[in-house]
């Protein structure tokens, strides 16, 4: 399993592996939204928590199809399925690798983008906390979606469509944490719910994903 983790990280860091691109995309969105919406600081500050969370979500989303599709195309997924590691474990490891190369950098960079969107001062800590808590859920849920569409060629758009609705609760609670935090209100409830979603997703979804993979390999 560790070999798999190391391989996936190495692949991500190699040329064309896409490490850091999620980050760049996140930055891009933070630039595009004001370009579309307009430059007034007040409006931006109001929508900043939501936009930052939606941005993180989309950046995650765009890298999801690499989780399994590459392995499926070159036949390694067949081989992994017959290898002596349980497929559930392999799925969990792949979701972890995805988080390490996407969710983690996103979380660390988010406060910087908060500046661009005029996020109020108290919001930064909660932005970090909510993303740190929430992005693992994004990766697990995303891995499940990726497992579902692994047989579809270039199914990026389909994947988005399947995964985005599943992301809704995470998004709502995550953005709520930041919004309340930025307004100086109590964030206990949404934070607890966010944590619950993440734990639940990490614990249960690998089984569903492995099942979906087995079905797709058939």
């Amino acid at each position: 399993m560790i070999a798999l983790l190391i391989r996936d990280l190495r692949l991500a860091l190699r040329a064309g592996g896409g490490f850091g691109l999620g980050l760049a995309f996140f930055l891009l969105l933070a630039v595009l939204i004001p370009l579309g919406v307009g430059p007034e600081g007040g409006t931006l500050a109001k929508i900043a928590p939501g936009i930052l969370w939606v941005g993180a979500l989309l950046a995650c989303l765009l890298s999801l199809d690499r989780i399994f599709a590459l392995d499926f195309e070159d036949g390694s997924l067949d081989l992994l399925a017959t290898a002596p590691i349980p497929l559930e474990g392999a799925v969990a490891v792949k979701a972890l690798a995805h988080w390490l190369v996407t969710g983690l950098p996103l979380t660390l960079a988010a406060p910087l983008l908060g500046v661009l969107l005029h996020l109020p001062g108290q919001g930064y800590g909660w932005l970090l906390a909510s993303l740190a808590l929430g992005t693992p859920a994004l990766s697990s849920i995303g891995a499940f979606g990726a497992a579902l569409v692994v047989g579809v060629k270039r199914g990026g758009l389909l994947l988005s469509l399947l995964v985005l609705p599943l992301y809704v609760p995470t998004l709502i609670f995550g953005a709520e944490v930041v919004k309340r935090g930025a307004a100086g209100m109590d964030v206990g409830v949404p934070l607890a719910l966010l944590a619950a979603i993440t734990l639940g997703a990490m614990a249960a979804l690998p089984f569903a994903s492995a099942l979906a993979l087995r079905i797709n390999l058939r």
């Binding site: 040329a15 064309g16 896409g18 760049a24 370009l35 307009g38 430059p39 600081g41 931006l44």
Partner: protein, 243 residues
């Protein structure tokens, strides 16, 4: 002797080895003199106080960020039209340097904006177009890294640089159209007009500018030579394996 001789990697490396020992110390000297002069021996501005001294880092970095992209554009065109490897590698070498200058301009601008405008960031057209420039640099570098074959990567990034430049100019106009800004207009070229830059700031700024141009040249030469060596190494290695 034609200028294109320097397109030969060997010739270029030799020349670079001779130029570098001149340019690098010049960069260090000018920057040291300019910054020390600027930071410690200029008066404080009546409005802006000591923060005005960020100008000595901010303006040169901002100018070089744009100039580096222009240099990359020229080098890319040379590569596409005449296929001189050195120019492709020079474009590649300049990109991270230009990106760092962009980042410096953005960071110093942000530090300056905090006391001046009361925010770290404002969607002023000049600031916004710098952010967009940063995105262009990021895309350019990402494409270089994603494509493995060096000639293919050079070709693709060359095309991207040319097309990107057109869109960068378009974006500049679009952004101006989108928002009227806070950022002050360029005054450094307006010597003799009304409201010129105070001479007390002018000369140290010029020294800093010379320093940063020299720094850019030195860094690009150094990086280009490194790229040439890496490329040569790869060829030698591949050929040994082939035997």
């Amino acid at each position: 002797m034609s200028l294109w001789e320097y397109a030969n990697p060997k010739k270029f490396s030799e020349t670079a080895a001779r130029v570098l020992p001149v340019v690098a110390p010049l960069a260090g000297l000018c920057l040291a003199v300019g910054l020390i002069w600027g930071f410690f021996f200029t008066p404080e501005d009546y409005k802006q106080g000591a923060t005005v001294k960020i100008i000595f880092l901010h303006v040169p970095a901002a100018m070089m960020a744009i100039n580096a992209w222009i240099m990359m554009l020229v080098a890319s065109l040379v590569w596409i039209v005449r296929r001189h490897h050195v120019s492709a590698l020079a474009a590649r070498a300049a990109a991270p340097v230009g990106m760092v200058f962009t980042l410096i301009a953005l960071a110093t601008g942000a530090f300056w904006g905090q006391p001046m405008w009361g925010t770290w960031w404002e969607w002023d057209p000049r600031l916004t177009s710098f952010l967009i420039l940063l995105l262009f640099y990021l895309g350019y570098i990402a494409l270089w890294q994603a494509v493995e074959d060096p000639d293919t990567a050079a070709d693709l990034t060359g095309v991207l640089c040319v097309v990107g430049s057109v869109f960068a100019v378009l974006s500049r106009y679009a952004v101006k159209f989108w928002n009227q800004g806070l950022h002050q207009d360029s005054t450094i070229m307006k010597v003799g007009e009304k409201d010129p830059l105070d001479p007390a700031y002018y000369w140290p700024l010029i020294v800093c500018l010379i320093g940063i141009v020299a720094l850019f040249v030195a860094l690009v030469l150094l990086r280009t030579v490194t790229e040439i060596r890496l490329r040569r190494l790869a060829v030698i290695e591949a050929r040994e394996k082939q035997e």
